[in-house]
Symmetry: none
Subunit: 268 residues, 2 copies
């Protein structure tokens, strides 16, 4: 999984190696091979496969052409959560917009974000769903933002490998741009971006707290949680900020417990 | 050959209809189909085939998916000269640069040039050579300039349809840029940025809540509030988000009051 890009390429191998492309539930093995080829032509080397339907397969290696090394190095895991557990930024490619309330970026913006984060030392995943059905809503909940290729609204059916090619191309342009910038900005220790797992831990505690303080009052919690996920995705939380927010939640939970013990008692 | 792009797409149909993609001597019919699909997803509709090796072919229609109308409309001609006879600008895509002395453009520049010329009423061709050997020197002589996708120098072997996808994508962006140059984007009501006064109202309530849930525990509140201000500044709050956050704070304050009434009572 740590195959670096060739040092003779003009990209920063360390930065490019922090960018992974994750294919979820791919149906046609040919698309996996074509995606590997698309990545390698753009100087990217990390591919992760989540529960591919028909893999390994000869067709994948045939379509990969000279990029079969990427296929050989690609881990196959069972869930998207597993594939992005150590990631600081997860971008989900969606064919249709507005299905979930995620901030949506064009490929160029997304590439700038991704390369910026990778340059600062973060692990970044770009996630592509199934050919026919894309990413499930649960899978999209694991993403910090969505990427939408501005396709023809009358016929937006990009081939999976073609979508990977467009995003990989924009990543390469952003990497080449970064390579020509003179110095990288040093990251302050307090500024360490929060890992995906820590952010998810915060959201779990946030959900528990909303229940405890009776925020929903009978309404379904989904809409509020979606909006809160989107809000905190925009904030790009650091590890320090996650600790601060979780401390506040812990105190709110403590109050709710006290209110439950005493408060309800005083009403009875 | 004059199939216009759909008028419900936001592109100018007249401009898009002046852009044609020419595939020269294509060896694999699957690539012709995939190229048609790539074009249609990007709102382009004109494909011209020069002496394809194996065509018509079922594989082409299979890979075209819903873009078989483009294949049906695509003229098949014998030479590149014939395919570009009426063109005002001919751009040749080359895998390797500097093979002939042509001005060379990156895809983005090339798209700007092409769309600029088409907007001014000119006919424009984007020419792609054979999978293995590209365009011959004679064919390159028919081009006004070359386009080079900045691929990994160690592995620059883009699939033909993938190269068409990248160029078609850049064309679409250039066309959309031309189309939106005049109109401003309306802001969704939920996306109204929060006013300064509303954000300050939120911070005041946040400070009160931290006191109420005894978050500070004797520490000075300044440092936590500074960090929280910074965090929410990064999130660029909308009015809707400020209302959501203040609703949560109100419930946490309510719990603290209940805890104070009952909780403290139960300890005394």
């Amino acid at each position: 999984m740590n195959t670096p890009v060739s040092p003779t390429d003009s990209l920063s191998p360390a930065t490019a190696a922090r960018l992974r492309v994750v294919l979820v539930g791919t149906q046609h093995p040919g698309n996996i091979g074509a995606a590997a080829r698309a990545l390698k032509t753009m100087g990217l080397a990390r591919l992760v496969l989540v529960a591919p339907e028909d893999y390994p397969a000869e067709e994948a290696y045939r379509r990969a052409a000279g990029a079969d090394d990427l296929l050989g190095d690609a881990p196959v895991v069972a869930t998207l959560a597993e594939a992005v557990a150590d990631c600081h930024l997860v971008l989900g490619c969606t064919a249709r917009s507005r299905r979930v309330q995620l901030e949506e970026h064009a490929p160029r913006q997304a590439a700038a974000l991704a390369v910026g984060r990778a340059t600062a030392g973060g692990e970044v995943a770009l996630v592509f769903g199934r050919e026919r059905t894309g990413l499930s809503n649960e899978e999209l909940q694991l993403c910090h933002a969505a990427v939408h290729i501005p396709a023809n609204p009358e016929y937006s059916s990009l081939n999976l490998a073609a979508a990977v090619q467009v995003l990989a191309y924009e990543m390469r342009l952003a990497l080449l741009e970064g390579a020509t910038a003179t110095t990288a900005e040093p990251v302050h220790p307090d500024e360490t971006p929060a890992s995906h797992a820590h952010v998810e831990g915060f959201f779990a505690q946030l959900g528990d707290t909303l229940d405890a303080i009776d925020f929903h009052k009978g309404r379904t919690p989904d809409s509020a949680m979606r909006k809160l996920r989107r809000l905190f995705a925009k904030a790009d939380l650091t590890e320090q900020e996650v600790r601060l927010l979780r401390g506040i939640l812990a105190d709110a939970q403590r109050m709710a417990r006290l209110a439950g013990q005493g408060g309800t008692g005083s009403l009875s």
